[in-house]
């Protein structure tokens, strides 16, 4: 069988991406970029004016001294850097897609691995094109609209912020729109299926971002929470299923789906508990419906409670039924960083490690309760269900702990304890005075102490203090200048190595690609299957899990690890 489609679509997408990169390089779309990135453009104008003034003074001085006019290099503004970044990415991706697109038009494929690999490229290009449009176009556009609507007084709140309409959510929505309205084109189907690989690669790369202490603490926390909520949900479903006479196979498949990691657990458990087709449809429909709903509701509630990355990651990782939406919600909550994703993914990994155990438990339970059930091979289940990508994550974590990518103290927050923060990055006296003015706005003694310490030391001195002040920066009526000072103090302490920074960027892109591709696999037809007893049981367990884990996280989980 030949998988590669002879279609000009790949070539066309490659050329369009190259065109965008070229237009940015030439400055032909500066007006559009200025509209899309107003704050970066403001910074650009300020940098330009400062440079022009400096150049004018230098030129006048040189003239007075009878010297030649000096050449002063114009510094790059945020706006320039962003355009440069877009150009570079467009050159790499657009160039590759164009070349492969040209190649496939003239190539005579033969059955084999090369044919299959080439057949995935148009789908990857399709996802990449959507990702670029969403991240560079729709995301800033929605942010502008949200602000404009609020400034115009049409709404008293920023709808883009409240509904988390950032590139992650918009990307997933774009994926859902594509599959349900315009359909995934046949030439893109193989590449879209590759989105799982992007997500798994993202998780493996995440292994580089944890310190040993952080991983140990998050791992312990996730094992405790997941054990309580997984076993609790499985138990509740088994009891409710029996009471509602749902049948053993339906109860079995539903308990795996509701308890462990949603659709993935349903897929793993269905053959083991010999679920009927309609039971699978009901269960997967219910989980998808809940998952998509939670992905929108969780981040909004998280912002309302001003949760820290650790708290929100722990809540999403425990309370959301479906694992794909855990990653989606974590990135939707914190789209500019990967701190929340780091926490949420530890919970996802813990869930998937629980999966073989739960499948085995259900298999044993099913054999005990069903006369015609076939016995399962324990060893086979444990080995075949083991998630191999977790080994990749562990390997990268070990490598990074051994200093393969950056010195180990980068993971501890290199500049918390040492005297390595440059003088110009330390808090200025004027800024200290401004912070003193808001001390009375602190809501807890911890917040007050964290702020007082910052004023006294002119820099952050611990991760705890950093996390507390991150929550402080979210106090609604806090002045923007104060928020800026807190943000700068955070940046001064969190200096990463360029390698780690690059990993963070790539991880965010990999997850964005993966989630857009997964969005293209959520069909309305599948969600419509939600119904019957699974919908009733699923709604009860889903609500209990979401509300229960929220309470546990708010009451018992500290704001940082």
């Amino acid at each position: 069988m030949i998988y590669t489609h002879k279609s000009p679509a790949l070539l066309l997408m490659g050329l369009l991406i190259l065109l965008w990169g070229g237009l940015n390089r030439l400055g032909s779309v500066d007006d559009l970029q200025a509209y899309l990135q107003p704050s970066a453009y403001k910074d650009h104008i300020a940098v330009k004016e400062k440079w022009e003034a400096e150049l004018r003074v230098a030129t006048e001085q040189a003239k007075a001294n009878n010297q030649a006019a000096p050449s002063l290099k114009k510094p790059l503004s945020k706006f320039d850097k962003e355009k440069e970044f877009q150009s570079q990415l467009c050159t790499i991706f657009g160039g590759s897609f164009t070349l492969i697109g040209l190649f496939t038009l003239f190539w005579r494929p033969k059955p084999g691995n090369v044919d299959y690999l080439i057949s995935t490229v148009p789908g990857v290009a399709f996802i990449a094109s959507i990702a670029f449009v969403v991240r560079w176009g729709l995301d800033p556009m929605f942010a502008n609209w949200g602000k404009a609507v609020k400034d115009a007084g049409m709404l008293s709140w920023d709808f883009a912020k409240i509904f988390n309409l950032n590139y992650v959510v918009l990307g997933i929505l774009a994926g859902i729109f594509v599959v349900n309205v315009i359909r995934v084109p046949a030439w893109a189907a193989n590449g879209v299926r590759l989105s799982r690989l992007f997500l798994k690669s993202g998780v493996i790369l995440l292994g580089t971002l944890y310190s040993a202490a952080e991983l140990a603490q998050l791992g312990m926390l996730s094992v405790i929470l997941i054990a309580i909520f997984v076993l609790g949900s499985v138990g509740i479903v088994l009891i409710m299923g029996r009471r509602m006479q749902a049948g053993n196979s339906m109860t079995g498949v539903l308990s795996a789906g509701m308890g462990v990691c949603g659709v993935s657990a349903t897929v793993a458990a269905s053959p083991v508990v010999q679920a009927k087709a309609s039971e699978i449809a009901y269960t997967i429909g219910t989980i998808l419906a809940w998952g998509v709903m939670c992905m929108f509701i969780f981040p909004t509630i998280g912002h309302l409670f001003e949760m820290t990355p650790v708290q929100f990651g722990a809540w999403a990782g425990t309370g959301i039924l479906n694992s794909a939406q855990v990653a989606g919600a974590a990135l939707a909550y914190d789209p500019e960083g990967v701190e929340t994703l780091k926490v949420a993914e530890i919970f996802n990994i813990t869930r998937v490690l629980f999966l073989p155990i739960i499948v085995l438990w259900l298999a044993t339970w099913y054999v005990k309760n069903e006369e015609n059930a076939t016995k399962v091979d324990i060893g086979h289940v444990l080995i075949s269900k083991f998630p191999l990508f977790v080994l990749g994550f562990i390997l990268l974590f070990i490598m990074s702990s051994l200093g393969f990518f950056a010195p180990a103290d980068h993971y501890q927050g290199k500049f918390f304890s040492g005297d390595k923060v440059k003088e110009e990055k330390l808090l200025k006296a004027k800024q200290g005075k401004l912070l003193e003015g808001v001390l009375q706005k602190m809501r807890t003694p911890e917040e007050q102490k964290a702020l007082q310490d910052l004023i006294a030391n002119r820099k952050l001195t611990s991760r705890d203090q950093d996390n507390i002040l991150k929550a402080v920066a979210k106090i609604p009526d806090l002045d923007n200048a104060i928020k800026g000072i807190l943000e700068n103090a955070h940046k001064a302490a969190w200096h990463d190595s360029p390698v780690i920074r690059a990993y963070r960027d790539w991880i965010a892109w990999l997850f964005a690609f993966g989630l857009i591709g997964l969005g293209m696999q959520i069909t309305g037809q599948a969600i419509k299957q939600a119904g019957g007893k699974p919908l009733v049981i699923g709604s009860v367990v889903g609500t209990l899990k979401a509300v229960g884990s929220l309470l546990v996280v708010l009451l018992f989980i500290s704001k940082s690890v």
Partner: protein, 167 residues
């Protein structure tokens, strides 16, 4: 038609996938087939949405996904064969000629395709399942079917038992 040649028995297309609505359609098809001396062409469609039933699973490895795919294929195939055999036996019991088609795709599209390819005299189908009655949601797009069908549509009322006088 050549003199002396027996006219070909009209063909009744029966859309049946084992639901209560389809069972009512089956009873109606028997009544009509007996009156018209027609043969029955049974179309069973496995809805296309099953292709997307792995949803957004990304945690499982390829072996687990392949096992699930194989399992789903096997149970859907077994259910379909069971349905086909049951209707075939009942047709045989009624003394009616029977033929079946098993397809995967969108039910409405496949019905229209079958109407075009097989040129039946009429299409017999059940009425949509009332709200609240459990079952897989893969409803036939009735407005589109009515607009595009070139043959009469016979719709069995929900719960039709076949014991009411029809002809």
């Amino acid at each position: 038609m050549v003199d002396g040649e027996r006219p070909e028995a009209p063909l009744l297309l029966l859309a049946h996938h084992g639901t209560p609505g389809a069972c009512a359609a089956e009873q109606l098809a028997y009544s009509v087939a007996r009156a018209w001396q027609a043969s029955i062409l049974h179309l069973l469609v496995i809805p296309a949405f099953w292709r997307d039933m792995m949803g957004d699973d990304w945690l499982n490895n390829a072996a687990t996904r392949a096992q699930f795919g194989g399992y789903l294929e096997q149970i859907l195939g077994a259910e379909a064969q069971q349905q086909l055999q049951a209707v075939a036996e009942r047709c045989c019991g009624q003394g009616l000629a029977y033929r079946s088609l098993l397809k995967i795709g969108e039910p409405t599209d496949l019905l229209l395709e079958c109407v075009r390819d097989e040129a039946p005299a009429a299409l017999v189908l059940g009425s949509p399942r009332p709200k609240g009655v459990p079952g897989v949601r893969s409803r036939i797009d009735m407005p589109r079917l009515m607009q595009r069908s070139s043959i009469p549509l016979l719709l069995a009322p929900w719960g039709w038992k076949g014991n009411q006088p029809f002809f």
